[in-house]
Symmetry: C2
Subunit: 252 residues, 2 copies
């Protein structure tokens, strides 16, 4: 079996923003789906793992877009595994137009965890042999690896949100893509004006949160075009600092 999978999709009009651009959450879901489909075909999809009481956990995601596809654009979304390590694996993506135009690239890092103990599995030991035949480190993914977002200060608090029914995924945790949506909503619609594309999004998933959890969002402007975001659960202003759940970086 080949190492890389490519899916063709069309940007539909119900997943575009006010500039008729594809939305970042829909882009994110499309990447996760491409990853899952690639894994299913090769015997290590989520259901395969679930049967063995393991599951995939997305640890980090970095997406960099030269330009965001627009409504009715036809896209070729490719994914492949770059490498496997002791406790995690990294998987890359490209998003191109029908004619080969590059829209962007993405990098992701995944851990396999024990469904019951939530402890990371010895991935290389368990899947090394299976994965070896699919590794494609030479395939170019010309975007920088994800950096580190520092903890934000309590003073950077912007808003709080109790996790709702629609935030929750099939593992009973807040959906990794829903964080992207909530983070994007920390910005005004003017920040997404036609001449000011969001260029890069990095997101690090640090802990799980559940229905009803109080999620507090912090935002700090780093320079003209760059913002750091932190999401913490159980933050009490003037009291408990809470637990970091997500840290993100947005570069316009």
């Amino acid at each position: 079996m080949q190492k890389i999978d490519t899916t063709t999709i069309v940007v539909d009009p119900f997943n575009t923003d006010f500039q008729r651009r594809w939305t970042w959450p829909m882009l994110g879901k499309t990447l996760l789906n491409a990853a899952e489909n690639h894994a299913v075909k090769r015997g290590f999809g989520m259901m395969d793992l679930n049967n063995r009481r393991y599951t995939w956990v997305l640890s980090r995601l970095a997406i960099e877009m030269e330009q965001m596809p627009k409504v009715y654009d036809t896209l070729a979304v490719s994914t492949w595994i770059e490498n496997i390590y002791r406790l995690f694996t990294n998987r890359n993506f490209s998003i191109k137009g029908e004619d080969g135009t590059v829209f962007g690239y993405a990098r992701s890092i995944w851990a396999m965890i024990d469904y019951d103990t939530r402890q990371p599995a010895q991935l290389e030991q368990m899947e090394g042999e299976v994965f070896q035949q699919f590794l494609l480190p030479e395939e170019p993914c010309p975007i920088a690896p994800q950096g580190r977002v520092r903890p934000l200060a309590d003073e950077d608090f912007v808003k709080a949100h109790h996790a709702k029914y629609s935030d929750i995924d099939m593992n009973s945790h807040v959906n990794s893509i829903k964080y992207v949506e909530h983070i994007m909503d920390l910005f005004s619609i003017d920040d997404y004006a036609a001449e000011r594309n969001l260029h890069r999004l990095e997101i690090a998933y640090m802990a799980e949160s559940r229905y009803g959890d109080l999620l507090s969002f912090f935002r700090r402007q780093v320079d003209d075009d760059t913002y750091e975001v932190e999401v913490r659960k159980d933050f009490i202003p003037g009291g408990d600092r809470g637990t970091p759940v997500v840290r993100a970086l947005l570069k316009f």
Copy 2:
């Protein structure tokens, strides 16, 4: 060209709820996409209309599900036009499994409006001849037509929400499916327990709302399993009643 279109889709794991059921918003988007694709192929998709300075507006949507598909189910989603009237047209849907199992049906009502004046067009006069060849009133859609949801009282107020960036669609209005998501979040996750499926959702779109609009959500319990919902913009508690934007009915 045939009158009915059927699309095959698989319920992906990133659009399922904590019970591994397909989400209602994703079901809604899938129906709207099926409608749009059906229309595009026959020459009256949104872009065709936009070129003539018209657009489709979804006026009402009623969905009734015997059961909600689960993750990895393969579905056949069909859509056809039931009839055309002076100012609107109705389009129906069926959602079935690979083996023909009925998951559910839906009914929708659409108006064509002038892009600039926002006034409804004389649909039958403009499109009657084109539509005539695609009408399929005899195709069964065995669910009740949508009823009327009465206005709710100010005392039924539950929460307010300022429309955010991610609420806004390509026409710069709040996305019709985003209302469904916000409405579903008026209920606790316990209301969506395995043994208590949401059976029917009716939604009537009465006015458009935009970025920054203050949307107030009202909810009234009608009986053990039935709730009415209203969304109004510019409601001021104890002051202005505001303008009804959406009315909905949920039957568990």
